[in-house]
Amino acid sequence: MSNEHSPLWEVFVRARRGLSHTHVGSLHAPDAELALRNARDLYTRRQEGVSIWVVPAGSITASSPDEKDAFFDPAADKVYRHPTFYEVPDGVAHL
């Protein structure tokens, strides 16, 4: 299973209708079609899914954990984005 001939794919499975696809692991396959078949055999042997996505691992761009604090900082001081930030006067319904 050579890496250049058989690149790494990340596998996402939708467990049931109504749920989003979730990352379950990775595998090697020479092309997308075989990646799908391998994913079926590897990650859904017990009916764990109704839909599978396979994505070449090399195509994923990830944020770096080293700069995680700085990267996600802009969201930290915007508490007003959360409904709990607001004071609701007593007796107001349906808010």
Binding site: M1, H5, R45, R46, D66
Partner: protein, 359 residues
Amino acid sequence: MYGNDFSAPGDAPDDTPGAGLLGEVEAAEAELRAAAARQRRGGPAPDEDLAAYFTEVVDAEQKIEPRDWMPEAYRRTLIRQIAQHAHSEIIGMQPEGNWISRAPSLKRKAILLAKVQDEAGHGLYLYAAAETLGISRDELVQLLLDGRQKYSSIFNYPTLTWADVGAIGWLVDGAAIVNQVPLCRCSYGPYARAMIRVCKEESFHQRQGYEILHTLAHGTPEQQAMAQDAVDRWWYPSLAMFGPPDGDSTHSAQSMAWKIKRFSNDDLRQRFVDMCVQQAEVLGLRIPDDDLRWNEERQAYDYSQPDYDELMQVIKGNGPCNRERMAHRRAAHADGAWVREAAAAYAAKRADKREKVAA
């Protein structure tokens, strides 16, 4: 059920063997989600000491993830452990695969096929987890083929009768589960997640083995004798699966501090013995140990240790089937080369065509 909370033999037995362990796997999975939920910090601050940050995350029972900074020795230890675990699953297909064509019924054959396929799956989950640490699949496979990395010594024993398939499921998979359930809480995220998956599936393996032995043990006198013979041969090698006694174990202390390992070899071995005694009683089979008896003071069974010299010999390559197992694996890898090449050629051809259409 958490950590050391093992049930005592006097407690009411679980409905089926392995049920308590499966509960623990689910607890580990719940804890994984809980740990993720209580995470307060993202990454280290720009000027923070990375080693201190790593220790803080591990001590807080949080998971280390692939792109996090980690000590080089932590990375190396994990690669070695996960890879050897993966190799064990792959080599582990051989002793049982030996009986697929001779299973006593279509039902048993279908079950055994599914089980051996699971072992391949476990190997692949684990290889994928190891690869997140920055080693390639090719390298891992080559380390096994060259004999530079080991696999569990248990798979160097032969499967002489159908009852061995039962004994492997009950004892070998049982010991593996006891070893592996704590790994569901390992500090390295991808390994912990793979182990949760493995342990859930492993529970089916243990039960199918137990059922085979139960059927044989309640069959004809010849079948009973065959079941007992299998237990006699697999008992001590299964005890040896937990590794050398704590005093002689080389990797333990550091792995405990890193929360890769949670319990000592001897603790896990004791736990396995305590579980098996009642299960053997239900089977009506004898554990081949004259000194096996309940110790009221310790609230555990006293038992005879396996032959650790034999274990060392098997690890060194001198077990009954070491050479056969490696020769088979190398041949399977070489015989499969044309399939890998054909699939790669087909993928290249189709990619070529797509490019031409696009152009």
